[in-house]
């Protein structure tokens, strides 16, 4: 009995994925541009300055969304890794591998904007705030995964090795977050306030949500594009292999 493949089942076939993503991408890109423009307009023209930090609160509108996407990116990689390890879903490897550089970029962005926000707030570029530190370690996990993908030549083995590491990483991430919080409270000099979003008043919340939506839409546009590129890269690889085989067969016939 071949049960009808569910949504993810049908997605397993790269050609169907390419067709679907091809249809969705233009709309999603349009949505991203609209959201980004609306968000930026709200941030620069509507959102009031914070009573404490003044205008520097504007940095929060990119810092917080990119930190969220750093986490979401790793969640996507973990889910895709489980899909690839347990259900051997062929597109899962593609999804996990292509999400890594994007997630890493957003993590890096969260770190940069976090430190640029820290300078006016506390006078230092890097403050060992619990959340910033966890994002830094998350960045190392991303680097480790990307390095592992590079280090293993054979794509299917690389996929499974990276999937194992991603799952081990995702099990450890909450523990790391917990231990960094613990470490932070132990060494908490009273002066440093937590890097928290100030009181969420709707005039600040709405631009933040719009920016978050814009960033998320951008993430998916990039992720779908990167997945398509990965599917094509694997097809190019397969074609090159057949070329090599054909050439070898040719030589065999002539020899």
């Amino acid at each position: 009995m071949v049960e009808k493949p569910g949504f993810f089942g049908r997605l397993a076939n790269p050609s169907i994925f390419l067709k679907l993503s091809g249809a969705v991408l233009p709309w999603l890109t349009g949505l991203t541009v609209v959201l980004m423009l609306v968000g930026l307009y709200l941030v620069f023209f509507v959102a009031p300055p914070d009573y404490q930090q003044g205008e520097t609160v504007k940095i929060m509108y990119i810092h917080v969304p990119s930190a969220w996407l750093a986490m979401m990116g790793y969640a996507i990689v973990t889910v895709a890794s489980i899909g690839s390890l347990i259900w051997r879903h062929p597109m899962a490897d593609v999804a996990a591998k292509s999400a890594l550089p994007i997630g890493a970029c957003f993590t890096l962005l969260a770190l940069i904007t976090g430190s640029l926000w820290g300078k006016p707030m506390w006078g230092t570029y890097w403050v060992w705030d619990a959340r910033l530190t966890s994002v830094l370690i998350l960045f190392f996990l991303y680097l480790g995964l990307m390095a592992l993908w590079q280090a293993v030549e054979e794509p299917s083995r690389a996929g499974r090795a990276a999937a194992i590491l991603a799952i081990v990483g995702s099990v450890n991430l909450p523990i790391i977050k917990f231990s960094v919080d613990w470490w932070n409270t132990l060494h908490q000099p009273a002066s440093i306030t937590r890097l928290d979003a100030p009181a969420i008043h709707s005039s600040i919340l709405i631009p933040l949500l719009v920016m978050a939506a814009a960033f998320t839409a951008l993430f998916f546009v990039l992720h779908l594009t990167a997945m398509r590129a990965e599917v094509w890269r694997r097809r190019v690889q397969a074609l090159r292999l057949t070329q090599v085989d054909a050439a070898r067969a040719g030589e065999g016939a002539r020899a």
Partner: protein, 72 residues
Amino acid sequence: MNAILDLGQHAGFIWASYGATLILLGGLIAWIRADARHQLRLLDELEAQGVQRRSARAASPQGKRGKGKAER
């Protein structure tokens, strides 16, 4: 329009972080799009040379170039 001009005495940091966002995300967007185009071009070249994927060849033994252009 004056809201943009006086971003307070830390305007430098605000522009720096938005600048960093622009550079980083812009670079990421450019790199991913370029990579996608590059892979597609390679795929077209290989297909133009009549190199067939095994599954395509199996699907059409009479040697026609696969089942038309590979799904884009």
